[in-house]
Amino acid sequence: MKMLHQFANPTRFLRLSTRVEPWALVVTVVCFALGLYYALFSSPVDYQQGHTVRIMYIHVPAAWMALFCYTAMAVSAAVALIWKHALADVAAKSTAPIGAVFTLLALVTGSLWGKPMWGTWWVWDARLTSMLVLFFLYLGYMALRDAFDDPARGARASSILVIVGFVNVPIIKFSVDWWNTLHQPSSVFRMGGPKIHPDMLVPLLLMAAAFQFYYFWLLLVRMRRELMAQRLRALRHRQAEH
């Protein structure tokens, strides 16, 4: 815990992040190169879905990241509310648009996959629907954050909102499942190990790693930018006072 508090110092964070950033970018690019090669060229064609199965290598990691980002936001928001770490709040703010775009990506790729497989762009399937609700939760967070003239007030209000939303996400998921289910059950995380063939699992995991590192890299860039913007604002205020 003490170590975490040390990292919460914005200046130390800026120094560290400038050093980590290029490495994160390199790992991202390598993972994407390997992952995309395996996913697009070297993995087998599904016996039922044909080449359409390759959409999965984008779709599934995007959906995982959509959930991961919301969790990260909720944890950051809780840390920001409890220990008043400014950095945690910056992390939550910077994560929101990234998570929203991952959610949108999962929705769009799901819809592109649905057209040849189910015959329509959109079905009110349980997983698609709960992803859509998650997208609304992201939008609500960003809208609330921007709705105040005082940025600190927006930060605290949206932190509470994201925690309330986090408690609700499993309930929404469960209720939407109850409401309707057409989607195939999860085939990677399940009792008795993954059911998916290794030839498809390897590119999937590579792509998941690529998405994860991409998020990490983008988060560092956005957080740095946000911290700079805050300093600039503070400087302008000081200048205006003189």
Partner: protein, 221 residues
């Protein structure tokens, strides 16, 4: 306890003096449902099929419309700061305000609902179940709505924002409430749905006042 009673009486008196507010919420509820009849056509079987869902969606929207008056006027005239500073726990004050809000908006909606059951040709065998779902579900709308209402205090376009924040969180209530009616029609009985709705009511009763109170403290800080 004495303080809570005083707040209860104050809230109730304020709501009674502005009773047109409650009437407007009910009027909106009825008009919204009637619009659906114009939208989809007067065919009785069609209306019976969509009736419970339409009535519930309209109740949800009507509850959202009434939500901003929960804290807004207190925030504007400074009463909210006194309520936060009062020796009564803010969580309990919030509970009392939500209770009065439900008595003056949720309850009138439930009383008006049978009229809409007749107009939407809802099958009589699901009338009692639909009333139970409204009885269990509308307090959840008030409870979760109160969190949103407290969060948007002082925001630009609070009303529209409130809907964006709260409506996604209320989807489960809608699903189980309308599911209860369908379950009766399919002959399965509505017990599971009603128990789940009751669970949501209790969970939101336990958790929502904390979040609302915290949001109020932030709003006046």
């Amino acid at each position: 306890m004495k303080g809570l009673m005083a707040i209860f009486r104050r809230e109730l008196r304020l709501a009674m003096r502005q009773s047109t507010d409650s009437a407007m919420v009910v009027a909106f509820f009825i008009i919204a449902v009637v619009l659906f009849a114009f939208g989809v056509g007067p065919e009785p079987n069609m209306l019976a099929k969509i009736g419970p869902g339409v009535i519930w969606v309209a109740a949800l929207l009507a509850a959202m419309l009434s939500m901003d008056r929960l804290f807004q006027s207190d925030h504007d005239d400074g009463t909210l700061e006194l309520l936060v500073l009062a020796p009564v726990a803010l969580e309990l004050t919030v509970c009392v305000k939500i209770l009065v809000h439900w008595l003056t908006t949720g309850l009138p909606l439930i009383i008006a609902a049978p009229l809409l059951f007749v107009m939407m040709n809802v099958p009589t065998e699901i009338w009692p179940v639909m009333l139970y779902t409204l009885l269990l579900g509308t307090p959840v709308l008030s409870l979760i709505g109160s969190v949103g209402a407290a969060l948007v205090l002082g925001a630009r376009r609070g009303g529209v924002l409130l809907s964006l924040l709260v409506l996604p969180l209320l989807i489960p209530v809608l699903i189980f409430a309308v599911g209860a009616g369908d379950a009766v029609l399919f002959g399965q009985g509505a017990k599971a749905n009603l128990l789940l709705l009751g669970g949501m009511f209790l969970a939101s009763l336990a958790l929502a006042p904390w979040a609302t109170a915290q949001a109020l403290r932030e709003a006046v800080a």
